[in-house]
Symmetry: D2
Subunit: 345 residues, 4 copies
């Protein structure tokens, strides 16, 4: 039996997920959609050739008998309320980041989920399903380089539009590093400092770009994260773990090697969707498979949504203050302690 | 509506394809199986948790109403007869290599398919769906390095068992290069010569290993293909195109970079199934998608099966003679002239 | 006519320079030596098969008619006085780092040299003669990546002995980055902050290791420099310049590529003398050539010795304070404004 | 005491060697020159700022008291006679390739040298002094990849002028591979076959380009050597040894890594003089050092000159015949059996 999915929010990322469910993944189909803009929802269905019913709002879609699981791909501020309704209805929910725009909202969701008694919320931190990061995790856990002491990473994009503001370097860009490094290290953050290097001439006047974010963890690991969003040459994700006896780095993406015109070269990707396409596919396939078996989910949890929210808030404060700001998390409930096992599908 | 697939032959490769249809791919399900060993077929279904009906033989399975398309994953000598029955029944058929163990058999299949009037046979040359080879094809076609003049390739495996004989270096190993290079160049082979370098001490007494196969094409491209099947260090597929103004090479497979113990290293794969897993997935997904739309297939055709058979025969003759042997193909029927467009799913 | 060189200090680095002058370089010979330990000096001459006269002290050697130029390779605290005597005698002097152990001492030497009226002091910052750094300099100056915004570098050694203390991470190790980055950027430092990540278990109790030093320049370039001196895997110097439109990185050192035992690998060097052997050769050859022509020297100047001393002092203060410390340089005298042209010999 | 060198032939390569002796190397000076064009010799001395005496012919220069050793850098056909005169005079001689234009001439020289009783002839096969090839030799001898079974190499140049003819692919280009592979393997050639792939459109009408030369050795190693001299993209020397358990390859030349404009790239050299500059320096420095000690030379010997001549003749025959041609060497005299030890200076 296919898992029947209802999609709340049929914008860009919503359509991407609908497309992968219908065209590339196994064991699910889109049966219901809703959107604040009904015409956009109809057009999305038409464009993708999907037959699914339109519902007037999230509650109606969640309540529909033909819906086994929910995709929350609406705008960020709407996520919290929808996720809570899904939990109340006892339906599995995959929620794009952020789980909530406030740490408090994330806590409320955790409370709801714990009361429900089974993990049925997965947050859209897709990098945990990227083959390269999975290999990094395995390498760290194997202790081949000893304990990790430092992480140096970079999140680079060729350009951003005028709507991209300084805080979005944290909430839209670094948020992925916040989650993935926390997952890689299994170690909580304790402080953050933000530095602003010389400004890139390609950045608009209102934007601080690049930025360097220094995070420290409980065990003392120092993270140096670069965010550069006007660097022209490509979309480039770098991550290097410096351990006690060696270094391990994220793979370069696969590319032809060309020798031509005095250069030996490989291509650098330009588009984040291409960079993480396989990871997006896998996060959704894992969600579908676990829903089909009615298992407690093991993908990125509400707790990870909470950690991201708290850390993100501290980063924003550090952007403003120029000082080292503390990051204070509550204790992780035992309910969220199960670690996902890295495995190939 | 899901494409309903009947599987003829539930051995290793059959089970792999069943698993990918049920667990990773979109738009199809396994509804029928048969095998000369019924117990093995039942066990395969059980192991994979698939509910499908068992049929006593290929004809019964092909005739079943619940079967839209056929996977031929039986032993090589059985392929030809089964494929012909599928064509006669007007059912799409995906046939693992070889299409037939003789060039004559391939021609008969082509004749049948042309009489049927639509391309409904796809041969299991999965490398055409490997992202690296797709990029190579695009690079060659773009003329970025001018016309190709030489190809240097290697097909290396860590070891083979005692059943692997000298001729299998052609029929089981080089066969993939024969197909993919023909596809890359869109140029027919005209001659072949086989050289035997110094023997690897790890090769069993009955086996010539390594081997070097020199192929020439109509336009004069010289291919130097190495087959080494006891090289211990890993499963390694190399392909370098030397053009008039540059070189383009197959990507290395993605791997972590580690600096440890005096070395900077990446991993070399050990297993061919891992190397081409994505390509296998894609070849089957493309087949499913085209069947769902009842299109004429664009994947590797019966004609390509015929080219592989003729070339393989000449290579075997060259293994024996030590001389340059001609490769003589009939003219390609216009029916098979449509070239597959490389594209992402 | 060969340049006749007198060596003051025949310890490890002194002997290395004597050996390269006699065995590998052109246009000079060692004619005089002195050392606080006369027996050691004799043994050095014997070991290297060099016929040269022993002098009782630096002044006597400097005054000798048979000496055209001086190598100062004694212990650091002795450098300043010897260099001043050489300038007074009007003899060219190559002085290993540090030029003086105090910024004040460096200023005094600059004063002496300006009074003498020609640049005759070269400081042993050999990295400026490393082919990789020369290429980095050319790439930065070419603006191919736009203006530099950040530098990420690492100075890693497999291990240090018990005499290595936390401050030596600055004065012995980072000192090379202090000089070379200043040369690469042609931009003065304005502040420094030192961070201590989680400690490496291989570091002795008295040592903070690794360390991260954050330097900012007048134009706002942010430098993130790692010093790791117990990292086991090798001696590894990394330097990456992040610019407005791209990244340029120091070359990896040349090494065979091996595919063996499941790995594709290259070697990481273990020994700093091997890493910079060509650079040491070139710095001395350039010195010899300029002395032979009686030119004003263009290699690393007393001013660069002064910049290193001031910066080093601020780094030590930042190690102690944990705060961002200012770096305040005097204005560079016009006398020192000539920039060395990068060129092959 | 400096070794006093007389140069016979002050053309391009002669001047290069004069320059390196005077400006970069240790322990020698140019004291005498001769050339069929006296004005050119004078101009060379003037251009390089060298004071040396001009002699009317090779015999006069060889006989001069002020000459300890001879550089033979005249045109190829003149080498044999000059080298014989030098041996007769008992003077060390460094002779550019070819030692003689005939195998017979090489044998005569060997005869002379053996009668003289000490190895005093070194042939200009500089690749044996290239750091990369030295590392390859060490790797092969260490058996890390087991016994070598195949070598795949390429000698590529961006373009050649109209004077370059098909046979020069052997005598001027492949000659370096002939020597270096023989040295690497310490294994004699037994046969050769030449193949002509599709012609490069950039090659002039009279030239076969590219060419593939297949050489076999006594132990059965198969060498596949590509010569491409109009390949535009750069000067590129590749060498890969396929062994029983792994692969070892020549290092890529050191280059900055740049990420820019959608590409990650390194530079490919354009000029052979840059590629092998260090090797040229080292071959001459080793010659100088051995002459200074009056040792029997260990660099490339007259025997290696003979092997190159015989092999080259067979390759030329194979170019014409299109057949596999035998390569028949006489037995190596014990006089030439000492192998050079690879070592850093």
């Amino acid at each position: 039996m296919s898992v029947r999915i209802g999609v709340i929010g049929t914008g860009a990322i919503g359509k991407e997920h609908m497309k992968r469910v219908e065209q590339r993944l196994s064991g699910a189909k889109i049966t219901a959609v809703t959107d604040v803009n009904p015409a956009a929802a109809e057009e999305a269905l038409h464009e993708l050739g999907i037959k699914a019913n339109f519902y007037p709002n999230d509650q109606a879609l969640i309540d529909a008998e033909e819906v086994d699981a929910i995709f929350v791909t609406s705008i960020g501020p709407a996520h919290e309320a929808t996720v809570r309704k899904a939990i109340e209805a006892g339906k599995y929910v995959f929620c794009e980041k952020p789980l909530s725009v406030t740490a408090k909202g994330c806590k409320t969701i955790m409370q709801d989920e714990m009361e429900y008694g089974k993990r049925i919320v997965q947050v859209g931190f897709m990098r945990q399903f990227d083959k390269g990061y999975e290999q990094l995790k395995q390498a760290i856990d194997s202790k081949v380089i000893g304990e990790p002491l430092m992480i140096k990473c970079a999140h680079r994009a060729p350009e951003v539009d005028a709507a991209y503001t300084t805080d979005m370097a944290i909430t839209d860009t670094l948020i992925h590093e916040i989650n993935i490094l926390h997952w890689l290290l299994a170690d909580n953050y304790v402080s953050v400092q933000v530095l602003y290097p010389r400004k890139n001439k390609h950045a608009l006047p209102h934007l601080r770009d690049p930025q360097v974010i220094l995070l420290e963890t409980e065990s003392g690991v120092l993270i140096q994260a670069e965010v550069s969003v006007n660097i022209k040459y490509g979309y480039d994700i770098q991550c290097e773990i410096v351990g006690e006896e060696g270094i391990v780095s994220l793979p370069e993406t696969e590319s032809l090697k060309i020798r031509h015109n005095g250069k030996q070269s490989t291509d650098v990707l330009q588009d984040w969707k291409v960079r993480f396409q396989d990871a997006y596919d896998k996060e959704i396939q894992v969600f579908i498979n676990q829903v089909a078996k009615q298992e407690a989910l093991q993908g990125p949890s509400a707790w990870e949504g909470y950690v991201a929210a708290v850390t993100s808030d501290a980063c924003l404060k550090a952007q403003e203050s120029g000082q080292r700001e503390p990051i204070e998390l509550e204790s992780m409930p035992a309910f969220y302690s199960t670690e996902r096992k890295v495995q190939l599908l």
